[in-house]
Subunit: 357 residues, 2 copies
């Protein structure tokens, strides 16, 4: 059975050894003769999983003291609502950078809570670049950014310097490279890219930044609820957190974020070099803003699409069809995708050029 080269944009490829361990634990977890799925989340065995997942986040991202780590349900879309509830003052103001569909959704959700300032947007060019040179209002309660834009294949290469609290949706590039957590008041990230399967979301929260809005916050949307109960206010998504823990352990065992950043750079260089060198393709994102996670590209001659599609499918490549808002192709190169899979795609692109170039 030959392995598929899995370029899915999320949920996406996970390490084989993680899948194997997860599969075993669905039958017999920790030699309890019980499935991971049928034990109490308050059992010693699961409490240890939760603690381990939290400590791995701290270790891998070098999280300073004074931050809490949460694993919750709801996805980043519910996060868009938690942000203004927890950080925008009554009659307050918030600043957003609009770099794509999800950044825009985050911003929309904050409206109705107070003034929402869009400091810059790349919507004019279908989000194919990251705006620069904008001014962040110094009287806003926070500035919200989306560090990687999966649909459009762009990524913030530098975190903007910012005198107000900075909040980042890192759903699609967390754990892919080194970050300085101390720059942020809050980071959130859905699991289903570099961290694990769908069904949980990570919050990294600076404790001292909470409780300052003057708002009444519904119980489940209040980050302090979950900090107080260590992510166990209600039944957590046990399996998704467990597999995330295994994936973070895999990352640590292999050399951590420094190791994966190097590997992710190699993969991205390999593919982008081919996109630029190959006469039949072109990238869609501004070169300086290209994402290391999601490479978006199109055929210069659309009429060759069937031929190219046949070739990559024959090579056992899966999931590179582009998002409908961009078209063409999107190769998502999340942490677990091996360099070998990128080489296979590049070889197909080369062979395609030889045949049709």
């Amino acid at each position: 059975m030959s392995k598929v080269h899995n370029y899915s944009a999320g949920p996406c490829i996970l390490p084989q050894e993680v899948l194997k361990k997860a599969s075993e634990s669905v039958i017999n977890f920790n030699n309890l003769n019980l499935s991971l799925l049928e034990i109490s989340h308050r059992s010693k065995d699961f409490v240890e999983v939760m603690a381990k997942a939290q400590s791995l986040v701290k270790e891998l991202l070098n999280v300073p003291d004074g931050y809490s780590i949460l694993f919750l349900q709801g996805g980043a879309s519910l996060g868009f609502l938690k942000v203004p509830y927890n950080y925008m003052k009554v009659n307050g103001k918030a600043a957003y950078l609009n770099t794509g569909t999800w950044a825009n959704n985050a911003q929309k959700e904050a409206k109705g809570f107070g003034d929402v300032i869009e400091v810059a947007s790349s919507k004019d060019k279908n989000y194919n670049y990251i705006p620069k040179g904008y001014t962040i209002p110094s009287d806003a309660d926070y500035f919200h950014i989306t560090t990687n834009n999966t649909i459009f294949g762009t990524q913030l290469k530098e975190i903007p310097s910012c005198s107000i609290p900075l909040i980042a949706d890192m759903s699609s590039d967390i754990f892919s490279k080194k970050i300085d957590v101390s720059q942020f008041d809050m980071i959130y990230a859905g699991a289903q890219k570099n961290m694990g399967p769908a069904g949980t979301i990570l919050y990294i929260v600076k404790d001292s930044a909470l409780g300052k809005t003057g708002r009444t916050i519904p119980t489940m949307l209040d980050l302090q609820t979950h900090i107080k109960k260590e992510s166990m206010f209600n039944t957590p998504p046990v399996f998704s957190i467990y597999v995330s823990m295994l994936t973070l352990q895999w990352l640590k065992d292999n050399g951590g974020v420094e190791w994966i950043e190097k590997r992710n750079n190699q993969k991205a260089d390999l593919l982008y070099n081919e996109i630029d060198a190959n006469p039949l393709f072109e990238g869609t994102a501004n070169v300086a803003d290209r994402s290391n996670m999601n490479a978006t590209f199109v055929l210069k001659n659309e009429s060759l699409a069937d031929e190219f599609n046949n070739m990559w499918q024959a090579a056992n490549i899966s999931g590179i069809k582009g998002h409908r808002d961009v078209g063409g192709y999107r190769a998502s190169m999340y942490n677990a995708l091996p360099l070998e899979s990128v080489q296979v795609l590049v070889d197909v692109m080369k062979a395609f050029a030889v045949k049709f170039g």
Copy 2:
């Protein structure tokens, strides 16, 4: 490897064949050579899982036309917030029946949205009975009930007749017996009892009851958002929905809700008969209101606790320690618990009485 008799209160026992299939799919799903965890939720294969899960709910509960089936994230605790957002009018009024911790939490969450009327409460006796003979205000926007109270071991044996929209949290007894969905405007239920693993929640929503409050509802809390996008507005909790689908298929294959209701009655009769006959134990819940899902009981002589604990542990029984709010023991007999496991517990109780009675 002798199987554990798993009385966990939730997450809880699931059918062995479901666990086996789930375990296999974590490695290779639908012969795709890909894990269920690493495919897109928009792939044909997962879209079929979601559709199948929804159609099984309709079939098993005989859901009439005009209702939508949703599988979302967040748990019943987030449901407590969605209820007033979607059903309480601006300056409106809602009625709640307070039968336990979760019923009370649901009620608390509605405060601040309008008038919250507690029509009756059993808090005076530590929730050991279901109140009767109360009046439901006919001008309230809805009446909210919790059909089974896991902590206190009580269950509504009859759904109250009600002239206003009826909303039920059925987290811990859905799919355990026949219900008439047409009595309800909305039913919601966390998966982790009779339906599947933790990480998803089922909503059964009467379409015509929505959109009447005059409220602005945040995107993710608006049930219409999820109806329009068929539970795919954002990435769904893929694995939890898949295992729920398998569990519902198991229920159907074995004879559906009629079959399980009979079996659940047998299990409950067996255990309650022993509790009542055994000189060393007594039940904590009012006999007429006893739950078929969670049987709560205590030792008449607490000083024998160590002896009893040793005996059930030696019999490979797990998860019957009572909740701290009630003490003693709680035997949760969810759908997947076999009659044989109840017999093992009853045998231990009999042997205990012979030895210490």
